[in-house]
Symmetry: C2
Subunit: 236 residues, 2 copies
Amino acid sequence: MTEAPDLPVEALFFDVFGTLVDWRGSISREAPGLIGREIDGLAFADAWRAEYQIGMEGVRDGSRGYVRLDVLHRENLDRILPRFGLQDLDEEVLARLNLLWHRLDAWPDVQFGLSRLRRRFRLAPASNGNIGLMVDLARHNDFVWDAILGADVARDYKPKPAVYLAAAEAMGLPPERCMMVAAHSYDLKAAAACGLRTAHVARPDEYGPGTGETAPTVQVDIAAESLADLAEKLGA
Amino acid sequence: MTEAPDLPVEALFFDVFGTLVDWRGSISREAPGLIGREIDGLAFADAWRAEYQIGMEGVRDGSRGYVRLDVLHRENLDRILPRFGLQDLDEEVLARLNLLWHRLDAWPDVQFGLSRLRRRFRLAPASNGNIGLMVDLARHNDFVWDAILGADVARDYKPKPAVYLAAAEAMGLPPERCMMVAAHSYDLKAAAACGLRTAHVARPDEYGPGTGETAPTVQVDIAAESLADLAEKLGA
């Protein structure tokens, strides 16, 4: 039993892709059936996700205006299709593929962990996913959020400081009373630079067995093995 | 039993002050105790609320940048204090008074009505209240929202079209698949002009017995007596 640290935190902000939901498992399971051809689901999921950071760069560096992640996911999809011989897929199938990101399955500890944390803290996703996508993911996985924050509210993408600061401001709290929860050290480093407290959650299998961060590579306030462990460490 | 109209609506957006929560009853009950002097609670609530539209005008007409409703509520409060001989109140009392808007009580039909509606529709407040205020009202009254939309997301105030359009866009839906629910015809008229469907809920006692809108003064898709009646009429 760890002693709850003396943190005056009132709101927890969550990274979602990889931290709460298993995008790789979900996309690789669902995509081949939708496409209706023999394809390597894991390779397809990995290729699609590999375009993720590149897709957001134009918004982050100001060379294009803000567009929501649904639009970027579709652009990223179009970019990888030829590599899988799928450039002839119907528009309807492509639209349904893009919506797979709206019904990714959560890691098994998440629903229980969020319920427990919500008894003590205000909870919101601070994801690069757009609001509609977050609404659908919450319904799919029975998450109860207090608000949906993140890229759509800031009209910019993490790790830009505006996203963390807009989340704290929307919650009506100074950054130091907010905590960013993520499985990715770069996300936590950026949040900490804005004055937020930080908690790392280990997701060792995010990109396949043994490929994710088992521990943070930056200084954090809490390092947890799961959301239940985080709840325990926060005294929730 | 009314036949459910054939509306392809997927999301319901709610006005909050007056439509879901009884600001007048709540402020008039709570303010005198906080102030600690003999004052006419109803007159105080009415005076404070009477500054509401004036407070937002500067943002709507562009003569000042967006500031959230918490800030306007405090400016409005400062304006009425002399009328009640309260200009000497402590800063701490004033801050606590301002937070009364974060814990207004819902009308008695709301919690049940929203639960029923949420089984079929995505639900979000599209209020002029800021996100933090909406989060606190939801916790106080056990509302479960899919997202918090409204002024903070649009950075403008109803009835400006940007607020309704930003809500639909955030939900990832065209306006005609969204329905605005309000007790105020001006709000519904503005939403309809943006292409949203509209539902009126009668709140005959909003400003005191027999003072509110018992029926819409504009054309609407549905006129309901309560949220349970709305659920019935929407087939939820």
